[in-house]
Amino acid sequence: MQAGIRRFATSGFVRSLLACLALVVSPAALAATELTVYTAYENDDLKAYKAAFEKANPDITINWVRDSTGVVTAKLIAEKENPRADVVWGLAVTSLLVLEDMDLLAPYAPKGVEKLSPKFRDPANPPKWLGNSGWICAIIFNEAEAKKKNAPKPVTWKDLANPAYKGQVVMSHPASSGTGFMYVSAWLQLYGEAEGWKFMDALHQNVARYMHSGSAPAAVAAKGEYLIGLGFDVRGSRLKEEGAPIDVIMPKDGLGWDMNAMAIIKGTKKAEAARRLMDWGVTEEANRLYGSTRAIAAIPGFAKPLAHLDKNMDERIMKQDFAWAAKNRARILAEWEKRYGSKADPTKK
């Protein structure tokens, strides 16, 4: 018996197991100052942002933790008893407002903050969060499919209620995705609650699916699965670059939008480095970088118009009350679920 156990314990199997453990337990190497930064920015943006910041601050290294907006937000909240992030850079302001409400953000006014457009600053002084750039609601309209179906091109949001689009519209599920909620909250602010819900009742008749992702509706509309996807400007522009037969329509009756923002996590042990990242995040250099891939940047005039899209987005985006949206989110979602959540196949009604 002993021999058997010994043979088992010294077998290659067990040895490789131990080797594996040794490999994974090794402590994380510590650089001079390593900042853990949670983000929902896209990968190609991250590379440029990190390179530029580290060039200006050679003694600080950014260690990204990247995921989608919902996952990053959930992670930050789940970790609140023992925060792991030093800074959040590139998370929807609607999420940061939830974190602010839980008192997870540390206020800080970086040098040069006054250059940012007031829309891109927490009104509190010192501010708890600062905006970087924005993304805007857009209709992704598949022209190749429209030609086949002989469907008209929408110009306003309300055009989407046209019965010609029955079963042809997809959008993000507002209870699953911040993008979906961005739409609902924008319509409610644009038209007022009563009229906003009335519009959504009509729109619901045309919606084929509410998708559990912010970027999927644009992607499936670009591939012709559906005629119309409610997405956002950046994604539409990129899909068109890739060769999708789409028009990215920025409706005339008002443009809802959301903001990528940054904040210091309260209790970070690297407050000094975190502040320097905030300082850099509001510089003109940073804004030029934000503006190179977004239609709006925090410092007005720093964004280049996106390929194939309308210009002057700084002026055209609607005045949006993010705090109102955050405060009323639970109520709005409950109402939404009540109206459209269950037995949800409107095409059969």
Binding site: S11, A74, V98, A144, S176, H212, G224, G243, A244
Partner: protein, 494 residues
């Protein structure tokens, strides 16, 4: 190995090993308690709290059930679980039966093809189905006007994704058969159908039931497939996603998770009932079953297995092919640009390397741990209570969506003051959570294998110093001459 060992030395060796067995049993139990039970308990506690952490009793449950949507989700989830199991199990059984009980050609190839889906995320099948049957799909007319977005797509996707898991379990059961039983039945002039019904099926009973449970649980907890192809068909797994990721409402997410755990509890009680009635099929003297050629039967099995294999390969080929297409369906030119991982969302090639490290460590450590657990549950006689705990915890991960397990890990390992907190954010915790996440199917497979083999012969082999994997595979020396009665028992239909 000429003579069987005398009872006396064997007995003393068993006594000596009892201590070690107890130690190992406690170690596995501790692993499952820390890696699963405690994190999940924290999750369950969340379902009784409000967002600020105050105890609110069952208020969250009352709120959850106050609208019609949850009942719809529960009903839909059960429908998906039952239907996809009813579709998957006969297919997997047929396939495994062809491989083990016929003389058809290309068995190795067929086996390999059946296992390919294990290498892909489940939602890959959903993506392929969209390409085939979606609104732009090449084969969409085959659905006769029905939409792939909904229960049809979910069930087809799950059948593909869960085929290998169920195949492995059933295959393990069918692979361990004693030729002597079949020869005896034949010499008694028993009809083929009767042999199948009274010998083959009962012998594979535990495997079939385990496979059904695996299929059902994987189907009700899978989130990727309903997300991609579910359309408006709501299931509990998408409800959890909506609560946790969409609204960061962990309390409601926990409520839904508890519903899935209740399903696991029922599963556990069910397996215990089944377990009591299972008798080992392989005695120490067993002779492995070798099918004899039968032309018509072999041809039919070959055609059936080939059809199934073609479906698997075909659907995967669609996914692979579309990865080279510039912009489907409008620009069908070929490209490698989608393989530029550094531009893709996620971590690029670094993430790819990390995944390989994770997979290797999980395979090595996981196999050892799960095997030991299954071995102790099935073959040890010490610490019955502790072994019951191991068995209960081993079947639980099936009922826990990965998202919920991950969240539970944050709550537990990130708790201030938890000494295990130093694992947080490391590769070790990823390996740990992955082993736990995939624990159940592996456990069921090993348990099925162990149940086929005679307990007495196994104990002797282990005691006699045969390495554990050899003792399991049944290729070690056979010592058991003492149970002639077992053979007769098998021929009696149960």
């Amino acid at each position: 190995m000429s003579a069987p060992p005398l009872p006396a030395p064997a007995a003393s060796a068993v006594d000596f090993s009892a201590l070690r067995m107890k130690g190992l049993t406690l170690a596995i139990a501790a692993f499952l308690v820390l890696g699963l039970a405690v994190p999940l308990a924290l999750m369950v506690v969340k379902s009784l709290q409000d967002a600020r952490g105050n105890f609110v009793g069952l208020a969250n449950y009352a709120l959850y059930f106050s609208s019609a949507a949850p009942l719809e989700s529960i009903a839909n989830t059960l429908v998906i679980g039952v239907v996809s199991t009813i579709v998957t199990i006969p297919l997997a059984f047929l396939y495994a039966y062809g491989i083990h009980r016929s003389c058809m050609p290309f068995k190795r190839l067929f086996r390999g093809i059946a296992l390919i889906p294990l290498l892909t995320p489940s939602l890959l099948f959903a993506l392929s189905l969209v390409q085939l049957f979606g609104n732009q799909g090449i084969l969409k007319d085959l659905l006769f006007g029905h939409s792939i977005y909904g229960p049809i797509g979910i069930v087809i996707g799950m059948t593909f994704a869960h085929f290998p898991h169920t195949f492995i379990v059933i295959s393990t059961a069918l692979g361990l058969a004693d030729r002597r039983h079949f020869e005896a039945a034949e010499s008694l002039g028993t009809s083929r159908l009767r042999v199948f019904l009274t010998l083959t099926l009962p012998a594979a009973k535990y495997g079939l039931i385990s496979a059904s449970i695996v299929s059902f649980m994987l189907s009700i907890t899978d989130f990727g497939i309903p997300k991609v192809i579910g359309g408006k068909y709501q299931v509990l797994a998408t409800d959890i996603y909506k609560q946790v990721i969409g609204q960061q409402n962990f309390e409601m997410g926990s409520v839904v998770s508890v519903l899935l755990l209740a399903a696991a509890a029922i599963t556990f009680l069910f397996t215990r009932l089944v377990q009591k009635r299972q008798v080992a099929m392989m005695s120490g003297r067993a002779v492995p079953y070798e099918p004899a050629p039968r032309r018509a039967f072999d041809t039919v099995m070959f055609l059936a297995c080939a059809a199934i294999a073609l479906c698997i390969v075909g659907v995967l080929a669609v996914a692979v092919a579309s990865s080279f297409i510039k912009f489907w369906p409008y620009n069908l030119g070929l490209t490698l640009k989608h393989y530029n991982f550094d531009l893709a969302a996620g971590g690029g090639w670094q993430a790819y390397r990390n995944s390989l490290t994770l997979a290797t460590c999980t395979a090595v450590a996981g196999t050892a741990i799960v095997f030991l657990g299954a071995y102790l549950v099935e073959k040890s006689r010490d610490l019955p209570r502790v072994r019951q705990v191991i068995q209960a915890l081993a079947v639980t991960p099936m009922a826990v969506p990965g998202l919920v397990l991950g969240l539970a890990y944050i709550f537990f390992f990130n708790k201030p003051g938890n000494p295990l907190g130093l694992l947080y954010g490391s590769m070790t915790i990823l390996v740990l959570v992955t082993i736990i996440h995939y624990y159940s199917v592996t456990h069921f497979t090993m348990l099925t294998a162990l149940k086929q083999v005679d307990p007495i012969s196994r104990r002797f082999r282990f005691a006699a110093g045969a390495p554990v994997p050899h003792a399991l595979a049944g290729d070690g020396p056979a010592h058991d001459d003492r149970h002639p009665g077992r053979f007769g028992l098998l021929l009696r239909p149960r």
